[in-house]
C-alpha cells in the first residue's frame, strides 16, 4: 500500500502543479516548489494570498483540487494520498489562534502522545512544558491563560511529538514582543537541535528575515519569488518582491 515514490531526496516537500479551488475561485496555483530537508522556509505575502491554504495542504488537512505533493518522512518519499497515518503523524502544525481542549494544560500537551498510544509520556510532557516555560501552569485550565501562554501550550503540544516537519501559520500574530521572542527562539532551537524542517507563514517580514533560511513571496495564489533570505531582502529579482520588502506594496 505504501510504496516509496523515489529514493531519499534533499527535499522534504516537492510540490508539482497544485491548484486549490474554493467555490470556483482559484485560491492557490503553484507550478513548482521544493522545501528542503532541515530548513526554515518562510512564506510571506498579502492577506488572502493562499499562504494558509498551502500550509493546510502541506499538513494534509486538505487535498489540492489538482496536482501532487510529495513529502519525505522517515527517509521515504510519500504521495499525499498514500501517506500512512504513522508518517502523517510526523508532521505537526501550529495555528494563528490556538484552539485548546478545556482540560488542564498538561492534558493538552499530552493529547498528541496519547493519540500515538503513548499514555506514559509524563517526562516528555514535563520537558515540553519546561521548554515553553509553563511548568508552573501545568494544572491550569486554558481559559485562565493569556493569549501568549495559550500559544506556548499550542507550541508545546507539537514539540512534544518530536515532529520531523513543523508547520506554523502566523504563530506570533497578535502576541506581545516577549512571547514573540520566546516562540521564535523555540522555533530556531527546534530547527537547530533536532533538524526539524519548518514551514512558516508570517505577516511579519522582519520575522521571516530573523528566522528563515529561504523566503517565498506569494501573491494571489501564485509564487512570485523564492530566494535565500539575504537575496530575498537585499537583491529581490521581482519588482513586486522589492516593493513588498520595502513596504511599498500595500497589503
Amino acid at each position: 500500500m505504501s510504496i516509496p515514490v523515489t529514493a531519499p531526496s534533499p527535499y522534504v516537500y516537492q510540490i508539482n502543479a497544485i491548484q486549490q479551488i474554493y467555490q470556483r475561485r482559484t485560491v492557490l496555483d503553484l507550478d513548482e516548489l521544493q522545501i528542503r530537508q532541515g530548513e526554515i522556509f518562510a512564506l510571506v505575502g498579502p492577506s488572502g494570498a493562499g499562504k494558509s491554504t498551502l500550509l493546510r495542504i502541506l499538513a494534509f488537512l486538505e487535498r489540492p483540487a489538482s496536482g501532487q505533493v510529495h513529502v519525505q518522512v522517515d527517509g521515504t518519499n510519500w504521495m499525499q494520498d498514500e501517506i500512512p497515518i504513522a508518517q502523517r503523524r510526523k508532521i505537526a502544525m501550529v495555528f494563528q489562534r490556538p484552539a485548546l481542549l478545556s482540560r488542564p494544560v498538561r492534558v493538552n500537551v499530552a493529547y498528541g502522545l496519547r493519540l500515538r498510544g503513548n499514555y506514559d509520556g509524563k517526562v516528555r510532557v514535563e520537558e515540553a512544558l519546561e521548554r515553553v516555560s509553563l511548568t508552573h501552569l501545568a494544572d491550569a485550565l486554558p481559559r485562565t491563560l493569556s493569549g501568549g501562554e495559550m500559544q506556548r501550550v499550542a507550541v508545546a503540544r507539537t514539540l512534544v511529538l518530536e515532529p520531523q516537519i513543523l508547520i506554523l501559520d502566523e504563530p506570533t500574530a497578535n502576541l506581545d514582543p516577549t512571547n514573540v521572542r520566546i516562540i521564535e527562539e523555540l522555533v530556531q532551537d527546534q530547527n537547530q537541535r533536532f533538524g526539524t524542517s519548518i514551514v512558516l507563514v508570517t505577516h511579519n517580514i522582519f520575522q521571516a528575515r530573523r528566522l528563515a533560511d529561504r523566503v517565498a513571496l506569494i501573491i494571489d495564489g501564485k509564487l512570485v519569488e523564492v530566494a535565500a533570505t539575504e537575496d530575498f531582502f537585499e537583491n529581490p529579482k521581482d519588482p513586486r518582491t522589492a516593493a513588498f520588502v520595502s513596504g511599498d506594496l500595500i497589503y
Binding site: 493546510r56 499538513a59 488537512l61 497515518i85 502523517r88 503523524r89 505537526a92 502544525m93 495555528f95 489562534r97 490556538p98 484552539a99 485548546l100 481542549l101 478545556s102 488542564p104 493529547y111 498528541g112 493519540l115 500515538r116 494544572d139 491550569a140 485550565l141 485562565t144 499550542a154 503540544r157 507539537t158 511529538l161 508547520i167
Partner: protein
C-alpha cells in the same frame, strides 16, 4: 389561607413519615422519567452532534423540525401516541395504551427534540477550529470528533437536566396515554390533578412539594455544572 396552611402541614407530615402512597407515586414518576430520559439521550445526543458536525441536503429543514419539536405542546404528542396505540390504531395490537410504556413513548417524543437541540448547540459552541487543530496533531477525523464531543459535555449534561425537568413535570400527555390508573400509571403530576379535584389538598400538596423538590434538585445539578464552567481553576 387556613386550608393552605393545614394542607402544607399535613403534606410535610406525609413526606416526613414516608407515606407509602406518596412514596409509590414519586418512585413511579422517577422510573418513567429516568427510562424516558435515557432513551432520549441515546437517540438525541448523537443526533444533535451529527447535526452540528455534518452538512447534508435538507439539513435546514431537519433542523426546523427539531426546533418545532422543542416547542411542541406535550399534549399533542400525547394525542399522537394515544391514536397510535389505541385499539384501532396502527400499533393497537401491542396493547400498550394505559401502560408505563405508553407514557415513556410520549415522554421520549417530547424530550428527544429538546436533547437534540441542546446537544447541537453545545457542539456548535465548541471552537470550530478545534477539530482541525487536533487533526494537525495526528488525530483521525473520528478521534477529533470524539474530542469535540467531549468538549461539549457540560452543555449536553445541561440539556439532559432540562429534559429531566420537562419530562417529570409533564401532565397532559401522560394523563392521556397512561390513564392515571391507581397503582399502575399514576405519577406525581396526574395524581396532583386528581387529588386536587377530589379535595385532598394535603396529599396534592405533598406530591407538589416532592415534584418541586425534584425539579429543584435537577436545576441545582445544572447550576453547579454551569458554575464549574465559569469559575476559575
Amino acid at each position: 389561607m387556613n386550608t393552605f396552611v393545614e394542607a402544607l402541614l399535613e403534606a410535610l407530615r406525609l413526606i416526613l413519615t414516608l407515606d407509602p402512597v406518596v412514596v409509590e407515586i414519586a418512585l413511579r414518576s422517577l422510573q418513567v422519567t429516568a427510562i424516558a430520559l435515557v432513551i432520549s439521550a441515546v437517540l438525541g445526543v448523537p443526533t444533535g452532534a451529527w447535526l452540528a458536525l455534518t452538512r447534508f441536503p435538507g439539513k435546514r429543514l431537519f433542523t426546523a423540525f427539531i426546533y418545532t419539536g422543542m416547542g411542541m405542546p406535550p399534549v399533542v404528542a400525547g394525542l399522537a401516541v394515544y391514536l397510535l396505540l389505541s385499539r384501532t390504531g396502527p400499533l393497537g395490537d401491542l396493547g400498550w395504551l394505559f401502560s408505563l410504556r405508553a407514557m415513556v413513548i410520549a415522554q421520549v417524543i417530547i424530550a428527544t427534540p429538546l436533547v437534540v437541540g441542546v446537544s447541537m448547540s453545545a457542539v456548535l459552541a465548541v471552537d470550530p477550529s478545534l477539530g482541525q487543530q487536533l487533526r494537525a496533531l495526528g488525530a483521525t477525523v473520528f478521534q477529533s470528533r470524539l474530542a469535540v464531543l467531549a468538549e461539549a459535555r457540560v452543555g449536553v449534561i445541561v440539556g439532559l437536566v432540562a429534559g429531566f425537568g420537562s419530562i417529570i413535570s409533564e401532565v397532559g400527555a401522560v394523563m392521556l396515554v397512561g390513564g392515571n390508573i391507581d397503582g399502575r400509571t399514576r405519577v406525581l403530576t396526574t395524581a396532583i390533578v386528581l387529588e386536587t379535584r377530589k379535595g385532598n389538598f394535603d396529599l396534592a400538596m405533598a406530591l407538589g412539594i416532592i415534584l418541586l423538590g425534584l425539579s429543584f434538585l435537577a436545576n441545582l445539578v445544572m447550576a453547579l455544572g454551569q458554575g464549574r464552567l465559569s469559575e476559575p481553576s
